[in-house]
């Protein structure tokens, strides 16, 4: 047995160009659909927890049983002293993440999520700044928003002033690509200003972010803090991130819907490819009978059929990746991020080949049952 593409497989495939086009189109359609849905899922999950993942903190201290970041509840900021006095803590800072109302110049109200952080520390602040500096929020009322939401918030340039819950807010900088999973854009500001913007009592915080000392075991530190603090949960960043992702993706059903759509793409792809490969096989059934009579093993015939499926998969996948690249690129300026990391692109190639060879099983089953004696029946 040789591994090269058999002449027969190749000729069968390219003989009917219209059918080949239909097969490849089916694969392209299915792969793009799966990539977009999985990319959306990936984009959504990344977006839901991006503030946590990019916080640079090792631990998040939340109110008791807080299910996800947007549901944080205020607790006494005096706990910060206890945290800072705990062995293994390098530094810690108070942080606010809470919904509020932004008032545009035209009077329209927009829901926003205020993120209050300590600009003197490196925990919980914005990233990807394209205009302004993080330190600019040290000035009272200064805020940083993402350029994706300029239109939604009615912002055109740095220096403009708006109102958040009746408090003056001045735009001091712009970030790029910090999306909110909810429809409420993030507004970064100092912790102090955030208490005003999000109506958090002066002696309260919503989260405490902890940076462990170098070499400190995070689990040990978490246990130590949890033992010393009452009525709060101490979570590692990855735990809190996973909780938040799980809530938005599965508790709300949003992720399930996206995954179902991806599954639908897979089913559509299998059906389209199976149908066209089966039709091709049926067209050449007499030839497969002749091959069997001539002494071809079932394995030889399977190889011919699977080679056709794999070629369809590779050609379809290649074209689909080109289309997907355009879709992904287009999504960077839209409200929903579609991510296509390299491991996913490589995984999609494997999935496409599995999908196409799986689709060929129907044809293989038909050829297996083929009686070579049919060659002597005229």
């Amino acid at each position: 047995m040789t591994l090269r593409i058999s002449e027969l497989a190749w000729r069968n495939l390219v003989h009917d160009k219209v059918r080949l086009l239909v097969t490849v189109t089916g694969v392209v359609f299915a792969v793009v659909l799966i990539v977009v849905e999985l990319g959306l899922f990936l984009g959504f999950t990344t977006t839901t927890s991006s503030v946590i993942d990019r916080s640079a903190a090792d631990l998040w201290i939340t109110g008791a049983r807080v299910p996800y970041i947007e549901m944080g509840v205020p607790y006494s900021e005096r706990k910060l002293s206890t945290v800072l006095a705990t062995l293994g803590v390098a530094h810690a800072t108070k942080t606010v993440v809470r919904f509020s109302q932004w008032q545009r110049h035209d009077g329209r109200q927009e829901s926003v999520q205020v993120i209050g952080f300590d600009p003197n520390q490196s925990l919980g602040g914005p990233w990807n700044l394209v205009e302004g500096r993080v330190a600019d929020v040290k000035l009272a009322d200064n805020v940083i928003v993402d350029e994706l939401y300029k239109e939604k918030l009615g912002v055109s340039r740095i220096g403009e002033t708006f109102e958040i819950r009746g408090h003056r807010a001045r735009v001091a900088g712009f970030t790029r690509g910090i999306r909110s999973f909810t429809t409420s854009p993030y507004v970064f500001t100092s912790f102090k200003s955030a208490q005003d913007f999000a109506t958090v009592a002066e002696d309260h915080t919503i989260f405490i972010l902890v940076k462990a000392a170098p070499g400190q075991d995070i689990e040990q530190l978490r246990s130590r803090l949890q033992a010393r603090l009452k009525d709060v949960d101490v979570l590692t960043t990855s735990e809190f991130s996973a909780k938040t992702r799980f809530y938005w993706m599965f508790t709300t059903g949003a992720g399930v819907a996206v995954l179902l759509a991806a599954l639908l793409g897979l089913v559509v792809g299998v059906v389209v490819v199976a149908q066209t490969i089966y039709a091709t096989t049926m067209d050449h059934l007499a030839e497969y009978g002749t091959l069997k009579a001539m002494g071809a093993t079932n394995g030889y015939l399977y190889r011919v059929i699977i080679q056709q499926a794999v070629v369809s998969a590779v050609v379809g996948y290649s074209l689909a990746m080109v289309v997907s690249a355009f879709v992904v690129r287009g999504s960077t300026k839209g409200g929903a991020a579609i991510l296509l990391p390299l491991p996913m692109a490589i995984g999609m190639l494997g999935l496409t080949i599995v999908m196409c060879t799986g689709a060929a099983l129907v044809s293989i089953n038909r050829v297996t049952r083929l009686d070579p004696a049919t060659v002597f029946k005229g």
Partner: protein, 235 residues
């Protein structure tokens, strides 16, 4: 020594509640250097016998030896190797692959045997040259006459260098001139290359090429006549 020895072959098919005997106690030898014809009316069992002798169909009972090996008890998955290595087939409708050229059609038979690439192409070209189609290597079946298609099919049957060639109505789809050319080629293969050629035919014009004529009726052999044909008489 006979290349194929069939003894007391019986093939029955279920027909409603009854059993129909397509072959009824048939014994026959197929010898090298001999062109034998199976003749008889439709339904006499010729094609059934050819299918069993070619290891495509299993007999209901009886014994079949191919090149000395008993094959009736072989597993289903072992039969393709017998067909591939020991028997060449020529079909009434040529059964060429329309998407492949003449050379590729012959090379495909070599590919089944694990011979590929240049070696297969060269061997295919040589075989086509031997059947007088050296100038038609790149022609597709649709561009060939019936006689030429059957010669490609014969070249394909010869690809594995089998000692036995079985042909089912090889001249039925050909005009008389092409039919004669094909029979002359098969006759030469029997006499000059010592192959055993067994042909099922309805075509009485071909009787003159036979070294041996086996007449069948109702699943039985009713006559088995040998005749020495002087060399050159059919050329």
């Amino acid at each position: 020594m006979a290349l194929i020895e069939a003894r007391e072959l019986v093939k029955t098919y279920a027909q409603g509640d009854a059993a129909m005997r397509a072959l009824d106690d048939v014994s026959i030898d197929v010898n090298p250097g001999e062109l034998m014809l199976f003749v008889g009316p439709s339904g006499s069992g010729k094609t059934t016998l050819l299918s069993i002798v070619g290891c495509i169909l299993r007999p209901s009972s009886g014994s079949l030896r191919v090149l000395g090996d008993e094959v009736t008890h072989l597993r289903e998955r072992d039969l393709p190797a017998i067909r591939r290595e020991r028997i060449g087939f020529v079909f009434q409708a040529f059964n060429l692959f329309p998407t492949l050229t003449a050379q590729q059609n012959v090379a495909l038979a070599l590919d089944l045997r694990g011979v590929g690439g240049r070696q297969a192409r060269d061997r295919a070209a040589s075989l086509l040259d031997q059947v007088g189609l050296g100038a038609k290597l790149d022609a597709y079946p649709a561009d060939l006459s019936g006689g030429q298609k059957q010669r490609v099919a014969i070249a394909r049957a010869l690809a594995g260098d089998p000692p036995v060639i079985l042909a089912d109505e090889p001249t039925a789809a050909l005009d008389s001139q092409s039919g004669r050319a094909v029979m002359t080629l098969l006759h030469e293969l029997a006499h000059e290359r010592n192959r055993a050629i067994a042909i099922v035919t309805h075509d009485n014009r071909m009787l003159g090429y036979a070294d041996r004529t086996v007449r069948m009726e109702d699943g039985r052999i009713v006559s088995d006549e040998r005749r020495q044909v002087p060399e050159g008489a059919v050329a």
